[in-house]
Symmetry: C2
Subunit: 327 residues, 2 copies
């Protein structure tokens, strides 16, 4: 589906594991309206899809425009995806398999729809509107529950044949390391993800080495989120800081290898951990990349924090859909 009219509005949609957000942008990518709500993936595919449609309608209503005025809809979503056919192949958090998202949204709103991986749209958003503007090659790294990566190379997201690529979280950093969710051992995620950090911090709390963390969140990984880790450090839990710094260093060391491969001019760090503790992440990743990457690739390389927060995803998704629509 492609239209030839002059576009006034674009929609970006962020389908997250815990919340979803729809945002209407004008032609200059100024926000005209938005709506967010909880995803409630446990309620099942049909309910989540219905809630997506409602959320889009709400955002349109807030912007006081009709779906017919949209040039395109872009959706950032968890993967694996079939990008060209617009299918979510599998999203465990949503209980989804083979959901034809593009077709559904195009049928309901009569508007060209593009879906893309959530880390890809976040990085593309930072490239178009945030911390990586003008980069020839921008690497996005989002340490969170897992560790997502993306690369905008000369204006385009690097992608695989069917879905996305840049699985930075599954770079092997230790030959016989911890078991990873992907089935391998020693992947970066097993040491540097929020989950890995929380597990190490919980063990420290259990051993009595992190009294503030223990008081704030106990030893349950579900409670030990990025903000809690930051607060425990602020309150004086040195061991938590050491754990986070070590994870950030490991992330930087793995990025140093990616820098040697792709020679980016900007590395953008985003996601919950970085938002909660930007100084630690910038320091550790910068020093690891500086000392471990090959010299020609370090010259002029910037390591920066993402600037758009939650808006990166919807902005990137909308911009990606806009590019696909006017192509």
């Amino acid at each position: 589906m492609a239209t030839k009219k002059k576009y006034e509005y674009w929609m970006g949609f962020d389908l997250g594991g815990t919340k979803m957000m729809a945002t209407v942008f004008d032609a200059k990518f100024k926000i005209k309206g938005f709506h967010r709500t909880k995803t409630k993936g446990h309620e099942g595919a049909k309910e989540v899809l219905a809630r997506m449609l409602e959320t889009i309608e709400e955002a349109l209503g807030q912007a006081r425009i009709q779906a017919s005025e949209l040039g395109a809809i872009g959706v950032g979503c968890p993967g694996p995806l079939d990008l060209d056919r617009g299918i979510i192949l599998h999203a465990p958090n949503l209980g989804w398999r083979n959901v034809h998202l593009k077709d559904t949204l195009e049928r309901v709103f009569h508007c060209p729809t593009t879906i893309a991986n959530d880390v890809d749209v976040g990085t593309f958003g930072e490239y178009r509107f945030g911390a990586a503007q003008g980069a020839r090659c921008a690497l996005g790294v989002f340490p969170g529950t897992g560790i997502g990566g993306a690369c905008v190379y000369e204006g385009h997201l690097l992608r695989g044949t069917i879905g996305s690529c840049m699985e930075i979280g599954h770079i092997k950093i230790q030959a016989e390391g911890r078991l990873c969710g992907c089935g391998q051992r020693g992947c970066l995620e097993t040491t540097a993800s929020r989950l890995a950090i929380s597990a190490d911090a919980a063990a420290a709390a259990y051993r009595g080495e992190a009294p503030h963390l223990l008081k704030l969140a106990g030893t349950d990984l579900r409670q030990i989120k990025s903000g809690v880790l930051a607060r425990a450090i602020d309150e004086g839990d040195k061991v938590v800081e050491v754990i986070v710094r070590n994870a950030a260093h490991q992330l930087g060391a793995a990025m140093a290898g990616v820098v040697n491969l792709l020679a980016p001019d900007v590395v953008v760090l985003g996601g919950g951990l970085v938002e909660a503790m930007p100084e630690i992440y910038l320091q550790e990743v910068r020093s690891a990349v500086q000392s471990l990457s090959m010299k020609p690739f370090v010259k002029g390389l910037k390591v920066v924090a993402a600037r758009l927060g939650d808006n990166a995803g919807v902005m990137g998704a909308a911009a990606l859909a806009a590019e696909a629509a006017v192509k």
Copy 2:
């Protein structure tokens, strides 16, 4: 420098550490003439440059054409390079620093000239004419004295801002591994390059575990080249086979990580070691990639041997220069 005439001929040039080769191609990239000679880098920059010009003249003479009939000249050379300005920044084997190769050749032959990294042109040659034809994303890996890598993504070589990228040899595979020529520790090259293999094999020969190798080449790394290693294995030196297989496995394990990042549809293995022992390399790299890469990226992925041998470089260089000239 760019011309608008209809092109009849292209020249590819391969400037190697030990030999150089110039080849004239017609518009269909059939070879019309070529000349090769020793590089003799020890004689110094001026002599090597003069020999390059002679070699080009010889190839033109053999093809019975004038330089004025060339659409462009492409040169594959050792780096680091300044690609846009066509400068070899540093080539230790040639004793070169800041040699303005593009300007020099354009002044002498009045013909647009493109320079590129030798591994890049080899991979581009395999993509255009050899084992990776039609690939959406082709990864080239050339284990030799070092380990070179390159990636053709949707028709274009991935590159850095100034020079090439894809330094696969400097992926860290061991936290506290052997010292690498780049100054880091545990780079892939320290375990899987021809030099690393030769060092391990020489030690085995010294210990009396590789009698055939000892007879063939002694314990001098300069003598233990790829062909000698292959012959020692054929003659029954089991330990040499184990050493090579281990190196090939390490290469494959590192490639598995690159596959997770770039999701190629073809991995092309080339260079002296692979040419001497293709079965070992294909087996070990295939099995490592299959078992260590994430499943979605393995589906449909081919691991193949390069097909063009020494011609990959000149063909790729000529094709790259042709694309730049008609752009």
